[in-house]
């Protein structure tokens, strides 16, 4: 090895390693400082928790060429309008429930998790729930006891996870709020529930 060449020397590469690592890390810090405000709740991409008081749709955006969530008219969850604090408390209960019941080791959320069960990112908008009139009741019943409901011909069934009424409402609130996040068009070509009046 031509050890006397500058490009093959140990010290050149040591310095390069240090500068490249430091530079990348500094760039990451700056990008993080720019990204975090853009994904804080209440931002354009990640709406405030009180978005659960509104209708949410998933529509094709002609300029961005992706489907994006559209926040529509007032349509409070379970027919009751919540303040920002109440909405946050309910969504928090829902997310805590999804974590303590280990949902992510079967389902994916925002595409991350396991693949044994469907993605929950836009599940609030899924056609599976029939019509928007029966959706909330169906979701509550399903979350509380899914075990006797056949999901598919393979017999893959979600277990009953001792979820209380209030926790189930929280989970629905969390799912509704999550469906309002702008995920850059993921999942692609999603066919959402019929919501026209």
């Amino acid at each position: 090895m031509a050890a006397n060449q500058w490009w093959a020397s140990e010290s050149f590469w040591r310095k390069t390693a240090i500068w490249v690592t430091g530079g990348s890390f500094v760039a990451l810090i700056f990008l993080t400082m720019d990204t975090i405000p853009q994904i804080s709740s209440g931002s354009k991409r990640v709406p405030a928790y009180s978005v659960i008081n509104h209708r949410i749709e998933y529509k094709f955006d002609e300029t961005r060429h992706v489907q994006v969530p559209v926040i529509g008219a007032k349509e409070p969850l379970f027919g009751k309008e919540l303040t920002e604090e109440e909405a946050e408390a309910l969504v928090k209960l829902g997310k805590l429930t999804t974590q303590s019941k280990n949902c992510m080791n079967c389902h994916t959320l925002l595409g991350n998790g396991a693949y044994y069960a469907p993605d929950l990112t836009k599940s609030w908008l899924d056609q599976y729930w029939g019509t928007k009139e029966v959706r909330e009741e169906q979701m509550l019943a399903f979350i509380k006891d899914p075990s006797d409901k056949v999901h598919n011909s393979m017999g893959r069934r979600m277990p009953k996870l001792e979820i209380t009424d209030e926790e189930a409402r929280g989970v629905v609130a969390f799912l509704k709020w999550m469906s309002s996040i702008d995920t850059n068009g993921f999942p692609y070509n999603f066919k959402s529930i019929e919501q026209e009046n």
């Binding site: 990204t35 693949y115 056609q127 599976y128 692609y188």
Partner: protein, 481 residues
Amino acid sequence: MATLGMLDSANLNGGQKLAVKYFTVAIVLFGAQVLFGLLSGLQYLYPDFLYGVLDFSVNRMVHINALVVWLLYGFLGSVYWLLEEESQHEVVGLKLGNLIYWVLTAAVTVVVLVYLLVQIGPGKESSIWLINEGREYIEAPRWADIGIVVSVLVVFYNVAATFSKGRYTGIAGVLVLDMLALFGIYLAGMFYTTNISIDQYWWWWVIHLWVEATWEVMVACIMAYGLMKVLGVSRKIVETWLYIEVALMFGSGILGLGHHYFWIGTPEYWFSIGGFFSALEPIPLVAMVVHAVFDAGARHVKNNNHPAMAWLIAHAFGNFFGAGVWGFMHTLPQINLYTHGTQWSASHGHLAFFGAYATIIIAMFYLGVQRWRGGVWMSGDLPGNGWKWKWSLGLLNLGMIGMTVAMLISGYVQSQIERAIEGSSWTGYFAAQIHPWFVQGMWWREAFGVMFLVGFILLVWDLLTIGKGESRPMQVVVSHD
């Protein structure tokens, strides 16, 4: 000095004695990982199997957590293994190191028992503190998180203090800084937030920056040490390569983080950053293949530990294909839109973790067992022509490649039917899951999983018996320091 052919801890230095303990737990957890992987794979085929007793969520959680923890044990063991030789100094704070080993192992046992017996809790923060956090890969309850940070911090202290009292080599410098990052980045995953976008943003710091940056640099250090020990490559060459690999790995890996920020709510500029830097991520892995294969060739594959050398080469290729090729295959946003969160991810995950990490730790196991038996002969001409290590090498690698390809085929079907055609709806998901091609992929995955298990059993058998009663001392490889 040494008693050849007999397991005798008098053959080991202080750090190596501790390393053997770490390696032992690592192998046990490796076995648990394989077992729970087979159980969860079986549930794809027979969903009623253990339904309501050990559900898929539990089995899969144990499967992936055992993976993370056994690799961590493997790394910590490897670091203790090379510490005294590298620094030419006794491990500072060895007693504390031993104590922390027992504390960590007790904690891991409690966590696994809680996973299996308690499983879930109410939707309160107390569940996250005591049962599990419900966040893929870092499910460990918060109390255990704190324990892990303290443990890694103690190992970091031992390593840094030992090197600063003894010889401070190039490997030492990289290792110390890497361990600092190893415990520092873990902190990013240790809080609760209701905002799932922010939650996932930091979650990826732990998952990606650990796995695709600090762990890769950790294995580069171990590889450097391994090539010096097994092949006798000179330190100057090895350390120059190490710096090259660190530059390429951190240079591509830190901002390569962006490929996880496509769909979690983050701004669109991550498309370009993530796409560009993750396209660079395979380059350091190519460098590593060149490094290992060139050195082996330059020395006419003359080495003092055939199984370890074979696993080092398996690592170089496994890292390149699993992490590099299989990762790059679906890392660009145009493709990732369809493949993210499907069996493609599982396919990549399996080959990458095995190829990049499991392989090199197995190489360290062989280095360990050779020294533990007093530095026995482990070159050619082993009794039975070394059939056990050769078969286990073959079965583990073939089993893994088989699983990977099977899941990739299922992944193709899934991304076509569920994503492209059915638009990711609930019914689309199940339409893909019941498609015969998908199901066949899952069958092949399970079959190759069994092959992997056989390879694992052979590996354990071989590690327990190789060099037993061997009277020849190990071949000397000449290092030109």
